[in-house]
């Protein structure tokens, strides 16, 4: 492993339905934890990358406001956006900034206050979530696109609604032990299966919990990491990809090609195979998305992802523990903060500091799979200690 860029601090706010403060205060919660974790102050930050999905922000160009509130001025700051994968896109940029030698310590701050806009405004934005010229005019929405992937996967590979219910039931058992999660209730497989249909075949509990939240990841050069940090976690591989926005531009609907490309690139850079990953955070905005992730990441062959579910390989003591912090489904999905929160979980796992969520056996390699839109953008990040 080339130990040249490290993560030296991580933080996240508690994910909640409605954060009782402003976006700058929300961002501060995550920064404070990450700064204390890294043992640095705002003066050490050489640049910051601020990540959110702007359709939820009332503040125009929030990067400046947040950088000011966190005390980063006069260091450069700017925004990076790829909807739900914004903060791992920000992480990719931060890695490049440090690797190039342009900056030595970069803060990646992700946040989203989804409750910043009214429910009616949110419904209106939902309609513009796909290609507004060719698909939004039919009344599409995010859950419908993932539902279409579920229907196609069922037909192609024989996966079932029960497999999806098992994924959600698993996420609730870990959401219950994560004190930062928005959804803490445990649900049985039957409760998930019997919930009302949102858009067939997806039901209420197949969909993730909206939340307000923030995350912060501190990226540093090898020199600064060794000087500041007892347990640096190192970047091993970064992969990213994109796919057609319109469904019509895609080869099929039972896999996400952007995630497959991102995974291949990340594994190639890291020089490892899928079975070398000992703990993973995958983008389970819907239950079907987690199943698609198993196959995109090579944890299972295409069509065999259900075996991971049915055999419990994805549990905390299984062959490949996945989303043992509750995932987006139960921990919550504050769009711009999500990727950074996934990174935080993996960093804590690799440092053996994940508390009740700690995967046994002191994992050495962890992976983060973060998807924006319906497989429109994807980032896969592999970390090691």
């Amino acid at each position: 492993m080339s130990k040249d860029v490290a993560i030296i601090g991580v933080g996240q706010s508690t994910f909640v339905r409605e954060y009782p403060g402003s976006i700058r205060e929300l961002a501060f919660d995550a920064w404070k934890e990450a700064a204390q974790d890294a043992g640095i102050t705002a003066k050490d930050i050489s640049a910051s990358v601020i990540c959110s999905a702007p359709e939820y922000d009332l503040q125009r160009s929030p990067a400046g406001v947040i950088a000011e509130y966190l005390g980063f001025v006069p260091a450069p700051t700017f925004a990076i956006e790829s909807v739900c994968s914004s903060s791992t896109s920000g992480l990719r940029v931060a890695y490049s900034m440090v690797k190039s030698g342009l900056h030595d310590i970069v803060a990646v701050v992700g946040f989203q206050k989804m409750s910043e806009i009214t429910s009616a405004d949110s419904q209106e934005r939902m309609g513009r979530g796909s290609d507004i010229q060719w698909e939004s005019p039919f009344g599409t929405m995010m859950p419908a696109y993932y539902a279409m992937h579920a229907a196609a996967h069922f037909k192609q590979y024989g996966s079932t609604e029960k497999d999806l219910a098992m994924i959600r039931a698993k996420s609730t058992t870990y959401g219950a032990i994560n004190d930062r999660a928005v959804y803490r209730k445990v649900l049985s497989v039957d409760e998930c299966l019997n919930a009302p249909v949102v858009t067939s075949p997806l039901k209420k509990f197949d969909c993730c919990a909206n939340a307000d939240g923030s995350s912060c990841v501190i990226v540093a050069s090898a020199d600064r990491a060794k000087e500041l940090c007892k347990k640096p976690v190192w970047f091993m591989g970064l992969g990213s990809g994109s796919a057609s926005v319109t469904l019509t531009g895609r080869g099929n609907c039972y896999g996400l090609t952007a995630a497959m490309k991102a995974a291949q690139d990340a594994y190639a850079m890291a020089g490892i195979k899928p079975q070398d990953v000992k703990v993973a955070e995958v983008h389970d905005c819907f239950t079907i998305a987690e199943l698609l992730a198993y196959e995109a990441l090579g944890f299972a062959e295409p069509g065999k992802g259900v075996e991971i579910v049915r055999e419990g390989q994805n549990l905390i003591d299984g062959k490949i523990p996945v989303n043992v912090d509750g995932g987006l489904l139960s921990k919550g999905h504050p769009i711009g903060a999500t990727g950074g929160s996934q990174v935080r979980t993996i960093v804590l796992q690799l440092r053996d500091e994940a508390g009740p969520m700690q995967v046994p056996g002191q994992p050495e390699i962890g992976l983060i799979h973060n998807v924006g839109g319906v497989g429109l953008y994807a980032n896969v990040t592999i970390l090691g200690r």
């Binding site: 009616a120 419904q123 209106e124 939902m126 309609g127 513009r128 290609d131 507004i132 010229q133 060719w134 698909e135 939004s136 005019p137 039919f138 009344g139 599409t140 929405m141 859950p143 419908a144 539902a147 279409m148 992937h149 229907a151 196609a152 037909k155 009302p196 249909v197 949102v198 858009t199 067939s200 075949p201 997806l202 319109t246 469904l247 019509t248 531009g249 895609r250 099929n252 609907c253």
Partner: protein, 136 residues
């Protein structure tokens, strides 16, 4: 004709392929084909990303297609609430895929992946133009 006339609710008013709406009014659903390299596009494009030409022909989406996937939506974004529930999906035709809604009169239990479909144009009460999949 303004592109604003396309769809149950329109979000985009200007495009170089607004002849799409003129064809809808004539009862036709058409995509574009690059005169230079022959690439076929649906939804239609004004510019070819393969050879950079912007000289396009319009070809009809006709014949029988196959339903690739679908979902029956129980919820809708703002502006579509009155139509709920409705079924959106994608079908494969000769060389292109088409996204749209299914004819609401097809019984729910008859909708399945692999079913044969055709496209037909429709006009809503408010004059908006669109197309939908019917059983073929």
């Amino acid at each position: 004709m303004s592109f604003k006339k396309f769809g149950r609710k329109s979000f985009a008013s200007q495009t170089k392929v607004d002849a799409f709406v003129d064809y809808l009014e004539k009862g036709e659903v058409r995509g574009t084909q690059c005169k230079s390299c022959g690439a076929k596009f649906f939804p239609p494009r004004a510019d070819c990303d393969q050879c950079l030409s912007n000289d396009m022909d319009w070809f009809p989406i006709d014949g029988v297609g196959t339903l690739v996937t679908f979902t029956r939506q129980g919820f809708a974004p703002t502006g579509f609430e009155k139509d709920v529930p409705y079924t959106t999906g994608m079908a494969a035709f000769d060389g292109v895929q088409v996204f749209g809604r299914l004819d609401g009169s097809i019984p729910e239990e008859e909708v399945e992946i692999g079913m044969k479909v055709a496209v037909r144009t429709i006009q809503y009460d408010d004059g908006q133009l669109s197309y939908e999949f019917i059983k073929a």
